[in-house]
Amino acid sequence: MAVDLLIVVGKALAVVVVLMGLCAYTVLAERKVSSWIQNRVGPNRTTLPVIGAIPVLGPMLTRLGLFQPMADGLKFLFKEDILPGHVNKVYYMLAPVIALVPALLTVSVVPFGQYVDADGVTRPLILANLDIGILFIFAISSLGVYAIILAGWAANSKYPFLGGVRASAQMISYELAMGLSVLPVFLWINTPGAPATLSLVAVVDAQAGAWFVLLMPLSALIFLISIFAETNRAPFDMPESESELVGGFHTEYSSFKFGLFFVAEYAHMIVGSAILVLLFFGGWHPLPWLTLADLGLAGGVLGGVLSTLVFLAKTLLVVFFFIWVRWTVPRFRYDQVMRIGWRMLLPLAIANLIAYVLFLAWWVTR
């Protein structure tokens, strides 16, 4: 009992540590990619005493900025934590915590690989294999909006307030389209009458042949756009648009509290990318119509490591896409955001859902 509990805690810690590491290096990737896009060099000075002194390797790592995230993290930890006099203290403190919690909770139902054990049973690598995985993700991530509302309201200041209001309207608007775009996937993998599932592992299993992005490209596109809006990433970064609202909802935050918001944004982005990969881009299957089992590589530790690597590579490609878009596409105006959400994405998502319902009804009764 106690040992089981320790193992579970250990696994959870490992996943969180990996996610935090990914967040830190996604920040670095963001800075590096943005500087390359803008013909700059990016962070290339920060170095460590011993490793930096290794003849060829040290300068190379330094130039790539690989030590920069450590400096950034320490900076967030040790800077003076300013508590403005005009804030609602309890809610002001609570907001960054609420921001990070959903991001860390949702990762617990994200499967990141699978292996075939000695008995020939396929086992997914996942913290909690819930039968209602996608519902859990939607439910928990919908709580994230409270962090932004709380931060905007508790700061008791104009720009954060505007940012908070914008964020809540935006997240409500795009949640609908996102939920509707995912439904066809689950209609597809469940047949009427048979035991049904909302598990993400089942979705990946169903993509051993064609990936869902090939079967339902419109769903994938709507989901991708909604993820951009839900994570408040450019071109949907209205809640924190620095040229209009200083910093938006986190204007009044400094030091470690700001760091929590910052990390939460990147964690949301990574988890969102992971879910996109699981739902539409075949999860840990290396290519459409080609699984690791087809290659004979699905067994044991090797299968687990390979599938995790394939999944991570795809997720990081999507993260790169997020960064690429941010530094390429200008920000929408707020009325444009609302128009895209309500007049384009929502009707499109409903039409898409009806089309797939009719098609699947015909397919099943054929």
């Binding site: 039968d131 439910a139 919908s142 709580l143 909006v145 409270y146 309201w153 908070g164 409500i172 609302m338």
Partner: protein, 176 residues
């Protein structure tokens, strides 16, 4: 009665739900009231989860905490008045208001208690094995027994949605 960890959890969730619910009525500032209201919904969701009804619990969070409560907070934030709050202090019919509130609360509690006691679910045997709620079974129950109200609710929601979209559409005339 022996208190297990599970029983303690139940009491924790119940206290959270009831406490937050009471706070909604007692807190003066509307935004705070809406926020503790969301906390109350979270507590209800936790109770569903404690009962093993995962699907219901997460739907509760998704719909009530993630959408309904956010909408309430959002509307309050947009329409807030700086001078609101504090004006209900005293007044001419303060005693009457309290009495009226208590009366409504008691009547509601009585109706709910009568419904729970009348259903006989308090005296039912608790199954040894935790009940597993299958989503398919839930869907079958919903579609088999409750089709007319379900369709009615669906129609009402669709009308509301179409109305919302229409309102959004007519707000602007062609520019040029």
């Amino acid at each position: 009665m022996n208190l297990t960890a599970s029983g303690l959890l139940f009491f924790a969730f119940a206290v959270l739900t009831l406490g937050a619910g009471t706070a909604v009525a007692l807190v003066r500032e509307p935004v705070r009231a809406a926020l503790v209201g969301a906390l109350c919904f979270v507590g209800v969701g936790l109770l569903y989860l404690w009962l093993g009804a995962e699907f219901l619990g997460f739907i509760q969070w998704l719909v009530y905490v993630g959408a309904v409560a956010v909408l309430i907070v959002f509307v309050i934030l947009l329409t807030r008045r700086e001078d609101a709050g504090g004006e209900t202090e005293g007044g001419r019919f303060a005693g009457l208001r309290v009495l009226g509130g208590l009366g409504v609360a008691l009547a509601l509690f009585g109706a709910l208690a009568a419904a729970v006691l009348g259903s006989g679910s308090l005296y039912r045997e608790v199954p040894e094995e935790p009940m597993v709620l299958e989503i398919a079974a839930l869907g079958r129950e919903l579609v088999a027994g409750a089709v007319p109200p379900l369709i009615l609710v669906g129609v009402v929601l669709t009308v509301a949605l179409v109305g919302g979209v229409t309102l959004a559409l007519v707000e602007r005339k062609p520019d040029a």
